[in-house]
């Protein structure tokens, strides 16, 4: 019994090589067994507190939400009605469509902003440090503060409209931006594009310059080199960065909460349904749907991020 335990643990530790045979002659098996077991017990003991905490504070509440989502509002009966009503209702579909549209649009604009920026910064440009610092700003600061500043900047009486109406005279009336769909997309881009921008910048930094030089030497124009050499190699980074931005937009809460106006994407809707309408069963079902979509996106991100095409350095 003890011997089989030792063998399985040795196999798991991958130590049953030639070295292990030498060790066998030096140490009795029983001593090795206790050493290995006590190491594993020690390791388990070190991990246990965090696991217990997460089980109680995270997985238990998550399970509670899951159970709430499949229980009828009156009693304990099992039902999928919360899901079917949400997914079948025009309002529910509207919320999902809005959430996905905002995320897609903001991801696309972020990509169009990040790629030229990353390319411009490629060759030891003087502004690289500044840009990297500034890209960290929206990631680090509380979203609420960013949203407040954006609301003031793009207000009907804000600086952008001041520029358009008073300075450039391109429009006679202020352009409404706050609380409109394009406005929310703009706010998302400000808040979340660095998540993709940093991935793209690091992907571009990892490309082997020799490949481009080869393209140029073989007579390709800069644009052709970019299209046929850089872009294909950068594709995994572009995808990974885009999924990263999409994930952030999809989960956004603070920005649409204070700057969304009448437009309530999924995260805000869950909060309103739970705290204003006090319908926890419906809110839980929406939370589960949101969580499942997010997990699918994360799995996608993992697969894209692992793809080859980068210089390993």
């Amino acid at each position: 019994m003890a011997w089989t335990t030792w063998r399985s643990s040795a196999a798991m530790n991958g130590s049953a090589g030639p070295g292990a045979a030498v060790a066998d002659t030096l140490h009795p098996a029983s001593a090795r067994l206790t050493a290995a077991t006590s190491r594993r017990v020690a390791a388990a003991g070190l991990v246990l507190p965090l696991l217990v905490f997460l089980a109680a504070a995270f997985y238990l509440p998550l399970g509670y939400t899951l159970i709430q989502s499949v229980t009828s509002a009156q009693g304990d009966a099992f039902t999928l009605a919360q899901y079917t009503t949400f997914l079948a209702s025009r309002q529910g579909q509207g919320v999902l469509a809005l959430t996905l549209f905002l995320s897609f649009a903001a991801t696309l604009v972020s990509l169009l902003l990040s790629l030229p920026l990353a390319l411009a910064l490629r060759r030891g440009f003087a502004g690289k440090g500044i840009v990297q610092f500034l890209m960290m700003v929206p990631i680090t600061i509380p979203s609420l503060v960013g949203a407040l500043g954006l609301l003031i900047l793009y207000d009907r009486t804000g600086w952008l409209n001041y520029l358009l109406v008073r300075t450039l005279h391109v429009v006679s009336q202020p352009v409404p931006i706050d609380y409109t769909i394009p406005g929310i997309v703009l706010f998302y881009v400000w808040m979340f594009f660095p998540y993709g921008g940093l991935v793209i910048m690091s992907g571009l930094g990892a490309l082997d310059p020799a490949l481009e030089e080869a393209g140029r030497v073989l007579g390709a124009s800069p644009w052709r080199t970019f299209r046929l050499v850089v872009l294909p190699l950068l594709k995994p980074s572009l995808w990974a960065g885009s999924v990263m931005v999409f994930l952030q937009c999809f989960g956004a809460f603070s920005v649409p909460l204070i700057a969304g106006g009448n437009y309530q994407p999924l995260a805000v809707k869950i909060y309103t349904v739970a705290t204003v309408f006090l319908d926890w069963h419906q809110a839980s079902a929406m939370a589960v749907i949101m969580g499942l979509i997010q997990v699918a996106l994360v799995v996608l991100y993992r697969r894209l991020d692992r793809q080859p095409g980068r210089r390993t350095a």
Partner: protein
């Protein structure tokens, strides 16, 4: 050849300038809102410069108490998060644990899904346990997000430790306590400090989970910013935002010296 280079430089400079304005102007607006008064209509700058909004924030929403709440909760969350994360990260980095990748997945899962998806359950649990509207309750809610990221930072720190230094310590006669104090701690300190900073900042800035478990005695800076915006007191919200921003910028400056930017992704905050 000279002209295209010049054109490209000019284009690059214009792009850079536009980018700098795009990112920084919202903060300029928050500052103008916080330090200015009578900024109505389409005016470039406020008519009057004043500190009165900070006075308002102190008088109407007791900003001093709010700041204390936020700091105490963040310190508590940091301590608990490090206490849980350091042993876990050590075990993951230094022992060959069975199912290590599954374990890491289970630990990082809270950071993978939007906060709102589990905030409902957390709100219910902390209410049932009588932890709503308490420092401990809110700090523990913040640990759900802070500890996993601390594990991530610390695991890479502990993995990067040179085994030969530990062996040298043992050979030269250190006992376990001495080995820890003289060898391991100095090697791991930068990682531990980084993990502590991340935990502190993620608690200090947290909004979603706090919104679900706070009460009248435990209003934090982000929640108060939200409440002030909701009440329409944008200038008071601006003043609170300025206080709220100070640690973020200090940490940002510190962290830029310590870690590569792309390694910080997914680290600092959720929604």
């Amino acid at each position: 050849m000279a002209l295209p280079t010049f054109g490209r430089r000019l284009g690059g400079a214009a792009l850079l300038a536009a980018f700098v304005l795009f990112i920084t102007l919202p903060f300029v607006m928050v500052l103008l809102e916080a330090f200015g008064s009578e900024w109505f209509g389409m005016r470039l700058l406020p008519k009057v410069w004043t500190l009165k909004w900070f006075g308002w924030a102190a008088a109407t929403v007791d900003i001093g108490q709010v700041l204390i709440n936020t700091a105490v909760i963040a310190v508590l969350a940091t301590i608990v998060s490090l206490l849980l994360a350091i042993p876990t990260a050590w075990a993951i980095a230094r022992y060959r644990l069975p199912l290590a990748s599954l374990l890491m997945g289970a630990i990082l899962f809270p950071r993978m899904i939007p906060e709102i998806t589990f905030a409902l359950g957390v709100a219910r649990l902390s209410y049932d346990l009588g932890l709503s509207n308490t420092y401990v309750g809110i700090a523990l809610a913040h640990v759900i997000l802070a500890a996993p990221f601390a594990v991530l930072v610390l695991t890479s720190t502990f993995e990067g430790m040179d085994d030969r230094l530990l062996e040298a310590g043992t050979v030269l006669g250190c006992n376990t306590a001495q080995l820890f104090r003289r060898v391991i701690l100095p090697l791991a300190l930068p990682g531990i400090v980084a993990a502590a900073l991340f935990s502190f900042l993620s608690s200090y800035n947290d909004f979603v989970l706090t919104l679900m478990v706070y009460g009248p005695d435990t209003v934090t800076l982000p929640v108060q910013t939200y409440l002030s915006i909701g009440n329409g007191y944008l200038s008071v919200a601006g003043a609170i935002s300025v206080i709220l921003l100070v640690p973020s910028f200090l940490f940002l400056l510190l962290l830029m010296r310590m870690v590569k930017p792309e390694n910080l992704l997914g680290g600092l905050k959720g929604a």
